[in-house]
Amino acid sequence: MIEIDLARSSVRGLNERLHRLAPGTNEHYWRVLNPNGAHAIAVGITEPIHVEIKGHVGYYCAGMNAAATIVVDGHAGTGLAENIMSGLVRVNGNASQSAAASGRGGLVVVQGDASARCGISMKGVSIVVGGSAGHMSAFMGQAGTLVVCGDAGHDLGDSIYEAEIYVAGSVASLGADCVEKEMTQADIQRVAALLDRAAIATKATCFRHYGSARRLYNFHIDHAAEY
């Protein structure tokens, strides 16, 4: 276990060391102390290492992550794991807006609540929110899966493409072109598998399924009011 105390060293120094790791490194376990809300902690990692961050983090923690497992024991600021490519990012607290924005792969778990625009323009990432998600979550979601165990705010899935959304609680409102869909056995299995990977104990059968009506895929005058 390599321990980095950000009270005594810089984010720059931490990221530089993480980026210098060679493929197959044996420096596998990292612990970061006293993050104190600093921004851009553990961004751009490319190796399958394990990073524990003991405290709250600022913007863009674990941004562009590939392969690594990053666990935040605290709350996370804006843009948690934005553009994640693969690996796992877990926050054992709440996450601010735009969590997993544009994520292309991997799994992002927010144990508590996620704020607005969770999963905005998601492109393949899987997201599990243990609590509730704010307004415009999965806005323009292109691919991937958003699972919300609590409630979802207004305009869920606005202008959504092919992302899939599952919500256990209430939905304040659906955004343009987002509709409720049938919860099939395959959907239940998909949600159950994600809940299992996220280690969140909620029954997959109590979710409802939302996705694109695909009415806005091509410009048409009859849908002008929705643009």
């Binding site: 851009a40 751009g44 843009g79 553009n83 924005a101 895929y217 002008a224």
Partner: protein, 438 residues
């Protein structure tokens, strides 16, 4: 007795009547490519004064007028060095075909300058051909890949473009082929609407942190450009500088686009001429002129435009439409295909259709095969060389041993409007409207 001449309304001209009829018929705004078609104040309204008794000129074929420019000297560990101050602007693979991206890259690299990716990510073609490649971070984040971020020479955060400041990209379904769709994680054949706002930041304070993240992800090596459409350049430039930009890319109203609403192209933003002056003044106010480099784009067509832009204070220019025209855009070949689009060579702005008669703005393999990469690269290289030599000709005539030694004092304006916008005197006077108590 002959019939009196017919009178036509100025307000409801034939073009206006035709557009109203089209709108009533189709029920959808007009979408097109290219840039503004209207006459705007431009670099044509300025002249360079040249040397005489009070200034020494340089010998045209003997004395050097250097052209190199370094971009990203503020914070980046590895600034980029261009041999000429003319770059190729961001144009997406998707809007452009692979052969066009390849030819632009090869032509630009031959003269030591950069090309830029675009909405949709980095294509293999352009990475292979461009020695210096600027990787755009756009609101859509289509195809954004951190490995590409690490593979580029500079990063450009796109906030807007001159053709549509405040608007996102657009690529109609006929250009969303399987490959384009896969790169953008979209269903093939849809009319793609790019976001106009970034998904993970809002406002200048967030932008500061976003730039920090990009620098951290790339170990502070690469210059970070911030590209803005010309709307309020005085404020936007200063906010971008405050946010930590190494380079500002300012795209004027004459900048082109692959597709957007005609009303957007013609009625939003301000022309390149006043935008450039305001941007330079904004940098000067902060004491950052020549420290944060300024690239201006939007309607740059000739070496004269390059020289005038640099004289007004730009460090470099960027070209898009002119580079495509050098490649063959609007060339008088395959005329029947222009006619099929309802247009003709010289008036084509049908990039959005994907049926580009010369094989540039298309994903159709048959059409694209009309653009031969080697010949296209030769034409791009030639054009960039001519622009550079023309700018050098004018710089030498003004007595400048480097293009960057051109200055506003070398300029005069042919119209009152251009004098006010560019902040240089009206020819034959010392008058700059808006200054000196006038």
């Amino acid at each position: 007795m002959t019939a009196p001449p017919l009178r036509h309304s100025a307000a409801f001209s034939r073009e206006v009547i035709a557009e109203i009829e089209r709108a009533a018929d189709e029920g959808l705004y007009q979408i097109r490519g290219f840039g503004t078609l209207r006459r705007l104040p431009s670099f044509d309204d300025l002249v360079l004064l040249g040397a005489s008794i009070s200034r020494y000129p340089l010998e045209g074929y003997r004395e050097r007028s250097a052209t190199n420019v370094t971009l990203g000297t503020r914070f980046a560990q590895k600034p980029i060095e261009l041999k000429i101050p003319i770059t190729i602007s961001g144009m997406s693979f998707g809007a452009l075909g692979g052969n066009a991206k390849r030819a632009l890259g090869r032509g630009a690299s031959a003269v030591g300058t950069s090309t830029t990716t675009g909405d949709g990510g980095m294509s293999e073609e352009e990475r292979a051909e461009s020695t210096i490649l600027v990787y755009q971070v756009l609101p859509s984040r289509y195809g954004f890949d951190p490995s590409h971020l690490r593979a580029c020479e500079a990063i450009e955060i796109v906030i807007g473009q001159g053709a549509k400041p405040g608007g996102g990209g657009m690529l109609l379904g006929q250009k969303i082929t399987e490959r384009v769709a896969q790169m953008r994680t979209l269903p093939a054949g849809i009319d793609q609407r790019s976001a106009c706002r970034h998904p993970d930041w809002t406002g200048p304070d967030d932008l500061t942190i976003k730039i920090q993240e990009l620098r951290e992800a790339t170990d502070w090596e690469k210059p970070v450009f911030v590209k803005i459409g010309s709307a309020r350049p005085r404020y936007d430039v200063q906010l971008a500088v405050k946010a930590g930009a190494d380079v500002i890319v300012l795209d004027g109203m004459q900048g082109g686009t692959g597709a957007t609403q005609d009303v957007f192209i013609e009625h939003a933003g301000i022309p390149t001429l006043p935008a450039l002056r305001q941007a330079v003044e904004a940098l000067q106010e902060l004491g950052q002129h020549r420290k944060v480099q300024l690239i201006i784009s939007g309607g740059i067509r000739s070496g004269a435009d390059v020289a005038k832009a640099l004289a007004m204070g730009a460090d470099a220019v960027s070209i898009g439409t002119a580079a495509l025209i050098a490649l063959g855009c609007n060339r008088r070949i395959h005329v029947e295909d222009y006619h099929a689009l309802g247009t003709e060579p010289g008036a084509c702005h049908h990039c959005h259709t994907g049926r580009c008669p010369v094989g540039i703005t298309t994903q159709d393999p048959v059409l694209e095969s009309r653009l031969e990469v080697k010949e296209g690269a030769r034409r791009v290289r030639n054009f960039l060389t001519v622009l550079t030599m023309e700018a050098q000709t004018l710089a030498r005539a003004c007595g400048k041993s480097h293009l960057h030694n051109l200055e506003p004092e070398d300029l005069a304006a042919l119209t009152v409007e251009a004098a006010a916008m560019a902040g240089v005197p009206l020819v034959g006077t010392d008058w700059i409207p808006g200054r000196n108590a006038y």
